[in-house]
Each structure stands twice: as structure tokens, then as C-alpha cells.
Amino acid sequence: MQLPTQPSIRQDEPSQKIEKMKRVVRRIKFESELDLEFGERVAEKAYGQKLLSCIQCGTCSATCPLAHYMDYTPRKIIAMTREGFKEEVLNSLTIWLCASCYSCYVQCPRQIHITDVMYALKREAIRMGFHPKRLPIPILAQEFYKRVLKDGRNTESWLLVSLYLRTNPFKMFKEALLGLKLFLRGRLTIGKEHVHRRDQIHAILEHKKGGQPS
């Protein structure tokens, strides 16, 4: 069940088309459909962040540079998480759009580490497979992860290639010109970076099947 999203969705600038509701839709969520332990689980995974002490003041949303692009503002995510609206939270765009700028973390009057909560939600969503298959952000994370697991270091050129292949191969053509400019200036490399002691990396990190944490 999708909660009502923010009003005034701007499709593109400068023309301002606001989406009109074409059908009457019923929005209700029964208490039995909530996952009441969700809030506690997430808080535990984020160092026991005191989600309960959030007074819903909205400072986090007000300082978030991505707030205008999110379907649920950070404040709403905290409220929904602690009340158990698991599906809505893990299916939201918000957790992926969080750029980890830590502005909310620094300004929160209850000193809640909101960014850590967002990371915990990202991990939950990946673990449970709750994101559109081609959403670039979690895919970038997964490709990054696989590469580091194998080589110990990241090579940006190859990372981008694998990202585009998994999300939208046509994008490679769109970005080809930029890629060429970077390559000509020596900012994109062909050779892959790796550490010498790959065995240490493999020993330290647990290899999870299919690039998914167990």
C-alpha cells in the first residue's frame, strides 16, 4: 500500500503539470498488517538509535538536500519505521536517495544518527530484495561490493561498465562522450586496480552468494 506522496510533483521544468487523480483509490492500512517489531530491529542494527525519542520536528527533512526528490521525507521514514510500516519504508525511494551527507545527523535535536538508520534500511531492503530490479543505486552498491570483494580495490571505469550493463546498456552510449573526454585526460583507466594480498581480503570478508549478504 502506497501512502500518499508529496503534493506538487514537478514533472519537468518550466512547464508545471500536476498529476491529476484519475481513479478513486482506497488507502487504509490495518494494524494487523504492520510489522510492529520492525522499528526495534532497525534501531538495533543501527547501534540502538533511539528512534523512539524522535519528536518528529522535521529538522532532518528541512536540512536534507535530497528531500525534494524523496517520496517520503526522512522524518516520515523515521515515523513509519517505528510504527511498523515495513513495506512502505523498504520500497521507498528515500532510502536510496540518501547521499550520506550527514546533515540530518548533525542537526537532529535528539541526536539520532539518521544516516546510520538509512544504511540499516538499505541493507534490509537489499537483503529482502525490496527494490526495482533496475534501480541504479542499489545495483551500484552491489557491483561495487563484488568488485572490492574480488580485487580489494575499485576501478571506476569497470564499475561504471558493469553498472550500465545491469541497469540500462543504452546509457553507455549516452555517456560515451563524457567517458572519452575523461579517458583522454587520463581519468579513466583500462587496467584494473587490485591489492597484492587478495588472500587477506578474502579471509576478512565473507563471500556472500550472488553478491547478496546472507
Binding site: Q56, T59, A62, A67, P109
Partner: protein, 668 residues
Amino acid sequence: MHGNGHNGPIRIGFYVCHCGHNIASIVDVKAVADYVKTLPGVTLSCEYKYMCSDPGQELIQKDIKELSLTRIIVASCSPLLHEHTFRVAVEKGGLNPYYFQMVNIRENVSWVHTDKKAATEKAQDLARAAVQRVFYHKALETKHVKIHPDVLVVGGGIAGIHAALTLANSGKKVYLVERDPTIGGHMAMFDKTFPTLDCAACILTPKMSQVKNHPNITLWTYSEVANVDGYVGNYKITVRRKPRYINEDLCVGCMDCIEKCVYKEGKTPDEFNVGLSKRKPVYIPFPQATPQIVLIDPETCIEFKSGRCKKTCVEACDRKAIDFNQKEEIKEMDVGTIILATGYQTFDAKRIPFYGYGKYPNVYTSLEVERLVNASGPTGGELILRDGRHPKTVGIIHCVGSRDKNTNRWCSRTCCMYSLKLAHLLKEHTEAEVYNFYIDIRAAGKAYEEFYDKLLDENVHFIRGRVAEVSDWAVRPSEEGKLIIRAEDTMIGIVRRIPVDMVVLAVGMEPQSDSQDVRRMFNISCSTEGFFLERHPKLAPVDTFTDGIFIAGACQGPKDIPDSVAQAGAAAAQALTLIDTGEIELEPNTAFVVQEVCSGCRTCLTICPYNAISRDEVKQKAYINEALCKGCGTCVAACPSGSIKQNLFEDEMIFSEINGLLENTPAV
């Protein structure tokens, strides 16, 4: 522990109370009474339905006389409730009240256990412990201390003024000491007060002049308390009166000297106008200052800095009141009680750089706005911003510095209401669009919610969302030249950018910066937030843990004017209770030094939290002031030579009680 023991024959009377069902339903009181009868030293052991009742008390008195009892033990409820009752009964029976011991088998046994057998055994253990303890009880005298009738009130804000007037009107002599050159405090700076929109000065100045003219009040402004010695009923106060360089008896406040000062315009930021205007070195805080006497600031006056001023002020004064040679005066007096009403300070908005205070000229604190809208303020009541403009939109940000773990954790209680008031006044003065950004609207007092309704009707925008930042970054042309407030409108559910001309920060209330120094001087405590600590937050909000010292107003915690006045009256009443009784009883559970054993090592001197121990330099022994001692036992424990003992809690009493408790415990 057995035999004749201490202090004469031991003939114990033991009473166990049923307390109706409260004790008897869990504890087998008869079994307890029967058990105690078997113990050595017990002459009488019986049970009774309600010991605290009149017949119960009379029973004790009768038994003391008839059976020549020398010790009384009552096993019933908590001593906090009835220890005093029973001590009085014992005294009426002709026995020293400190031969009485109370055993709590209600709060400590029947109310907390369900296993009847175990509860009864526990009650028996406790009774046995008490029986062994009372062997060592001694006859003690309740001390009485006389109370000096004069009162010191520190702080001349609305709370101090009201307390002083109340006491003076009841015939007591009051010293009102105020640090600023005038009384009136923060209230004198306000324009209108909520919710009635009374003009603050109009309701305050009559009280101020009452203070000035009252025969029972000695008003010392521009003065500070320098030292406090003594104890309840007998305080010795030293007050330092700072020199105004004006003869107070001659000055009539005509202010000709100010006009004629060699400075054509003021150059020093005016404290009363929160720095929004400038004053000259010779000045008066505001025209209705009480006392209406000018003063000279030696930091900025040319005569003080170089000694070569034309002194046009002296020429202008036809009363010859200016005296550059005036020195500070030290005054000493005796008082019996003290009321602290030292008020608060506002949160320093510079601590939150996100709101741009000090960076953007048109960001103001609420106190600055009070002066701006005030007809006697720096702009004569016209809303002219620092850059000369008149605001068309105003944003008022609530909770600045309050409710925030990063600054002050508490809610400052008054800011919502004064923000509503400022919204109203700003709308009145300017017709601007006013936006209030809040987290919650706290309008709990009398007529406060109705005031909020009024503001809603005035079309003030209320946006529920804590502001994250104020900046001059414009994204759209309509935002150019304005200050943009970014907040999430949590009710509508979208992040909004509101361009405003003027930002008002509703700064919170916090303790004065020198509150720790003040509380140390007066020997009281502060809470973790730094406000003065009351004896009990619900039942004794104006008393402190130091007898004879009371607190009132915002120094005890953030509050508005009605509550400050109420507390001031309460503090005055508490002081009057002491003064009119004339003397105070002291609990004799004080510590005392056995002089022969004292080695003069000084360990106890600094350890006492109540500064009750001093050292006799001649004899090189410690001495404990019984009036200051609260019987906390710290010095008793700390004394390396064991020379300090505590009445009612001597070592033998405690050890015998412990032994009594553990007698039945099987050896492990």
C-alpha cells in the same frame, strides 16, 4: 547487647500495628508480638489495630507511666509519615522522645511482599534489630534557633519586587539588592505581556515605585552580595555597592548631565536596548528607572580614562550631584531569611550558526524585537530593520536553543506564548505576513489557548516544522534579496522555502552565567541544567535544601510572569512562617566531634557539603555547627581517627542493628 546495657535500665515497650488490613493481611502481627516478647530487655510486647490513632498514642503514654518503660518501639508504617507523631506521644508520656525507634513493616514488608511466612519472618528480623539498637539510644535535646526578622531579597525583577513588597507589607524589614542600576529586570524591557497584552511597563512601574517609597524596604541597586555567613535565622550578609559617581541623595534624575555630556552621541551599545542603540558614558537605563538616578560608566567616560575632560556634566548639574571620587561602599547587615530571585538570561543565538544571527543583519532575537516594537525603544516603536527597510514578511522561529540535546535540553516554557505575542505585535505594527515555525504550540496557562485562537484568526501562518537553516541563497527570482527559511511543513508534508525580510529567533531561557558562583555563595544546590534546585519539585517548589533560603521566579526554572509572581508570594510566605514562629527546631541527628580524639587533620573540613565544619585554630580541633549540619554522615565516615560521631546513628547503634538483622541467618 544484653544485661543492663547503656543509659540506665532497659525496659522496652514494643507495639506492632495492624494498620487495618495494610500490615495484618500479610504479616502475622500476633506472631511478631509473641516473638518479641521473648527477647531480652522487652518488658511489654503487644499488637494494636491503629497505633497512630488517639487511643493508640494514649496507650503508649499510659504504658510509659504505669510500667516505667524506658524505650519505645513501634513497628508500623514509614517514619516519614508518623515518626514525629510517635515522638510527640512519647514525650507526652514523660520519656525523652529520642528513646523512640520506629520499624517500617508496611512500606518495607507488607506492601512489597506476598509470601506471608517470609514476610512475618522479615518483620521479626526487623523488630529484633530495633530491640538491639535501642539499648544504645541516648536522651537528646531538640535545639532551637532564633530567627532574625529581617529579610534579604536578591534580585529586583518582578519576582524579587513582589516578594519584597509582600514581606514589607506584612511589617518586615527587607533589603532588596539588585545588580543592575535599576530594578525591573527583564520585564521592564518587554513591550506587551501575554495573554492580556497589558503594557509591561504600565503594570510594572507602579510596583517599582511602591518599592522605592516603602518605608520597610531598603533598596540597593547597582549592588551585589559579596559574602554570606551564618545559618538559618542568623545570616551575616556583606553587600558591595558599586559607585555610580553620582550622589544618590542629591540626584533627581533630570538628565541634564546626559544632554550636556561632551559626547554628542552615544558610542557604547546600550544594554537596555540589547545593543540596538548607543548610550553615552553618563546614562540612565531607561527614563522610568527606579531609582531615578543616573550613573557614569568608568570604562567609557573620558574623565576616567584620561583625566582631562571638560566635565560639562558637572557644570550642567545644578544639584552638584556628580562626584568622580565616589568609592564603592561595603554594607553589612544581619538577616534571618534570604530569597533568591536572580532571574534568567536568554540563550545566545550565536551558538546556532544555522540561523545566521550576527551574520545576516535582519536576524533578531526576541528580546531585540521587544525593544523594536516598544514605543520607548530605539526606533520609537517603528519596525525599521538594521538595513533601514520595513519588513513585508517576517519569520518567527520557535525553540531556538531549547528542546535540543545539542544546546539546552529543556523546553523554555514561555517562548511559544511570547512568539505568539510578537506575531501579533508585528502584524499590528507592520501589516506584514507573519510565519511562525514551531514544533508544538505550548499554550497551557489561563487564557493562553484563547490567545492562540486569536492569532489564528489574525491569519498568522503556523508551519509545524523545526527550521533547519536561514540563508540568503535564492533559487528563484522571487527569493532574491530575502532571507530564506527552509523547514518541512510536517502537516502538509512538504519541504518549504519561505523568503522573509526579517527573522525573529525565539531564544530560550537559561540560568544566569554566574549561577554556579551564586549558589556556592549561598550554599544551595543547582539542578543538572543549572537552575537553582528546589527542595521538592511538587510539594516544595520555593524551598531549598538550605533552611532559611528560598528561591522564586525564573532562577528556579523557566516560567512566565504569573508563575514568577506566584512563586515570589510563596517564597515570602515561607519566609514569614519562619519569622513569625520566631524560632526553628533542629533535628538532633547532627554529627559532633569528640574533641579528645580529634587529631586536627582537617579531612572533614572540605568534605562537608553544607560547610558546617570549621577548625578552631587555637585548639587545632574541628568543630561542627549544629545549625548547619544536616546529619548526612559524610564526615562521620571520613574521619580517619573516628572522632566524629552522629547522634541517633552512633556506631554501636548501627552495629547492633546489623547484628540483630543477621542473627537468624544460617552461617554459610
